[in-house]
Assembly symmetry: C2
Homo-oligomer: 143 residues x 2
DNA sequence: CATCTAATTTGTAATGATTATCATCTAGGA
DNA sequence: TCCTAGATGATAATCATTACAAATTAGATG
């Protein structure tokens, strides 16, 4: 038996979600590719195995997966939503040229200096989006 | 004469943009309201004075204003783009309940711990988006 | 001050991402 | 095995944004 497949089934069950072939495939795709996929990419990725799967199903499924915390929805710039397997809190580097995305981590949370009118704001989560030029693009344009 | 109006005209000229009544009105609106406006809000805001202004003009103008650096485009969550007069680098607190937006500042940039594959990434800018509950919503639901 | 031209405005159509709808189908419990 | 709440899939609807083209205008030039 495919241990990976067993794994995603277990993940779905444990999260209290119904196990359907479509959900297995989508979660498996996210597990395999490891992060930052858009709905379109997921849709294309599962096409070979599920040629009949609807985009609606992808939207629906990622919404559910995000609700139970198996994945996280991230918004980068003005692009479409991306869905990230990585549940450990992390942040993103985006290349302005090619749009490639890297994860990175911040050991100690930065000290936020809140303005007076926001005193008492209850911080629940934060996300840092770093813009710049990735090594590959620097190499490409630098020479 | 309206000193405010003279001001936005000067800003446009200095930025090398043609001065049109529409641009004056849009920039004036942004100066007056002071930040975070969406295209829709700008459009509504200038309606009283410019009932004939097209949404296209708003999109066009904010794009130009952002290009010359008079304003900054920000993306918060999955909502529409917002345009911010505040050019000083700053970050945002978003309330999960009511969506209100606060600015805040970070004195010393956090130390980013880049992964191996991103070594050499040239950081140009960064933006921190903090999610949580604003004081007003806490007060409203807390009691 | 009249003229000219390139930039701007405007209305509309087109696109892209996402949500809504609803009839059909199915996972999984009784 | 049967039932039903929930899931799927096809399509339409919505929302933000961009593309387009014809009419207008800012501002430079003579």
């Amino acid at each position: 038996m495919d241990p990976g497949k067993l794994n995603v089934v277990a993940m779905l069950k444990q999260a209290g979600l119904r196990v359907t072939p479509q959900r297995e495939a989508i979660l498996q795709y996210l597990v395999d590719t490891g992060g930052h996929a858009t709905v379109e990419e997921i849709y294309q990725g599962v096409q070979p195995c599920f040629p009949h799967m609807s985009v609606s199903t992808v939207y629906n499924t990622v919404k559910h997966l995000a609700q139970v915390g198996l994945i996280k929805e991230i918004h980068v710039g003005d692009g479409p939503s991306r869905f990230d397997m990585n549940v450990r809190p992390h942040h993103h580097l985006i290349c302005r040229k090619c749009g490639i995305l890297f994860d990175f981590y911040i050991d100690e949370p930065p000290r936020f200096h809140l303005p007076p009118e926001a005193q008492g704001f209850q911080i629940e989560d934060y996300h840092v989006e770093v813009q710049g030029i990735c090594p590959a693009c620097r190499a490409a344009s630098g020479e």
